[in-house]
């Protein structure tokens, strides 16, 4: 009877809504290429996503834990060495001090961290009306709902909010945000970027691409993790069968039935 009570009450608890905060809509469920046991990133999508980040997001959002070399590493966008060098070289990086003790500007190298749009948090805040644009390096892992949530927020803008909602100056309606309000204006519009591979740059397409890119950025070893994980679990399963058979053999010498 105890077990029954336990099962019944537990199922009631699970079925009740977990979070009721801020009447945000449930994130859109996307069938990502990196989902599942064998999930992998789509290289072309990561490269497009990087383009969106570089041309749109990077004007406000830093990614300070990534280096340009990461863009060429296995399991990521896998730009060629020359492409990585060219991307890095397109940034002016402050270095030094040199022999004379002076700081100087030089072209970026693959070893450099992604250049941040603002020199510090306060500059970022003051340029954005007091709202600090979060660093995007681990953003996907820093939001419950992960990739689906990030994609949904990019898609959740609506110029015609429900009439009963009061939207202040510098705040935008977004149905996936807690409280349905966001301080970032709608970042993507159809054709915000021009893809070189001929993919149509719709808002949905760009949102998916940049979200995939951010997912890789937050978890650069995802592909390797899933690959090793699969091998590990297969190994353990086979090992468990062998141990089980050994156990049966060893215990067959003992009378255990009461």
């Amino acid at each position: 009877m105890g077990k029954f009570f336990f099962a019944a009450l537990f199922s009631i608890l699970i079925s009740t809504k977990l979070f009721a905060a801020g009447d945000a809509a449930k994130p859109i469920q996307v069938d990502w290429s990196f989902n599942g046991f064998f999930g992998k990133f789509d290289r072309a999508q990561l490269q497009r996503g990087f383009q969106v980040y570089k041309e749109v997001c990077a004007s406000c959002h830093s990614m300070k834990y990534l280096s340009y070399r990461n863009l060429g590493e296995k399991g990521g966008p896998e730009f060629s060495d020359d492409e990585v060098k060219a991307i890095a070289a397109s940034y002016e990086i402050k270095d030094g001090p040199n022999e004379q003790g002076e700081m100087f500007e030089r072209a970026g190298l693959p070893k450099d961290k992604f250049k941040s749009p603002y020199p510090n948090n306060k500059a970022a805040r003051s340029a954005n009306g007091g709202a600090y644009p979060p660093d995007m390096s681990v953003l996907v892992k820093a939001r419950s709902g992960g990739s689906n949530y990030i994609y949904s927020v990019l898609m959740g803008y609506d110029e015609n909010p429900p009439p009963e909602m009061k939207i202040e100056e510098g705040v935008y309606y977004n149905k996936y945000m807690a409280g349905n309000k966001i301080r970032m204006s709608k970042p993507l519009n159809d054709g915000s970027v021009e893809y070189s591979d001929g993919t149509q740059a719709t808002v949905s397409q760009m949102s998916k691409d940049v979200t995939a890119f951010l997912t890789w950025a937050a978890e650069p070893h995802l592909e390797k993790r899933k690959r090793i994980g699969f091998k590990t679990i297969i190994y353990l399963l086979i090992f468990s069968v062998l141990v089980f058979l050994s156990m049966k053999k060893i215990w067959s010498r003992v009378e255990t039935k009461m």
């Binding site: 994980g229 679990i233 215990w251 003992v254 009461m258």
Partner: protein, 421 residues
Amino acid sequence: MSETNYKPTSAFGKWFDERLPLLTLFNGHLMQYPTPKNLNYWWTFGGILTFCLVTQIITGIVLAMHYTAHADLAFSSVEHIMRDVNYGWLIRYIHANGASMFFLAVYIHIFRALFYGSYKSPREVIWILGILIYILMMAAAFMGYVLPWGQMSFWGATVITNLFSAIPLIGESVTQWLWGGYSVDNPTLTRFFSLHYLIPFLILGLVILHIWALHVPGNNNPVGIDLKKDGSDTVPFHPYIVIKDLFALVIFMIVFAGFVFYAPNVLGHSDNYIQADPLVTPAHIVPEWYLLPFYAILRSVPDKLGGVVLMFGAIFILLALPWLDTSKVRSAVFRPIYKQFFWLLVLDVLVLGYVGAMPAEGIYLLISRVATAYYFIHFIIVMPLLGYMEKTKPVPLSIADPIISSGSGNFAAAKKDKILS
């Protein structure tokens, strides 16, 4: 139970063993040690827990080589581990999920002891050592969660250390002493790192005492009766228990691997990937799942000091359990009423864990109060009374022997027998 007639076979082994009988010790405790042959899989968690402790120590030592304990650098050093250290992501995910697996195993281990009465005479000291290990585990886990210096690290540390300010008169000073300043800051982080490194070795020491104390009376067993002296109820630890523990361990590792490789962040809070910011308070500050029941007890009381007292009381009351339980029958298999209450306690703790994750308001607050009340009623009222009132089922005379004894080792039954005769 460790006396053996073991003699090392090699000349060096003999020479060494005469000077330091390590081989005899290992042979006695890890090979010949007589173990009840009716142990079920709930008894395999001791071995699993040893594995967890060793895994945490090894991965932790490697992480400490790459981690920087400084408020400005801790978060980025963790990202350095995740991105640039070879297999750093794997080591960190094993360590972070390993903590959860450690607690999963310890909760099963504790509830197994509760079900089969493993804390009762003559095993009180084993139980007390176990609870001390559990308390140290909670301290280590709490401090470990602070080290990445994310938002939950910072605010969790703030909430928990603030509890000490509830102590009358000296509370404020104690809290500042713990912080090393006027708020959770760099000195707090560095001392937590130091202690986080120390505590696992204290646990290791207590684990050795725990096993030593266990090997004096020997294992309890599902029937909960004393074993026959002639050894017919037991098997040697090696190979019988070793292979069985290994099988359970491999199954446990599959679950562990499932979390590490396919859901490495589900047991953590997403806010902890945001760097600590003393100026931004998260909407809901919640501890890790394994501390939620105690968090619920803490918040169920409107008074701060009262909440703190109840929370610590909920842990420390376990130390008195061997004397709160008055029943002479160990195993719940033969205690039909206690068995119901046992499952009610399991449910109660799960409910406490659930409401601990919810905001402390409305219906959740009410539920947490009822559940907190039952937690204490279970230990302070139900357990002492049941020993006198419950009519237990007949207990077998031995593990090997199917004959059931006519009498009962229970107070109530014994009294009744006396009256009838």
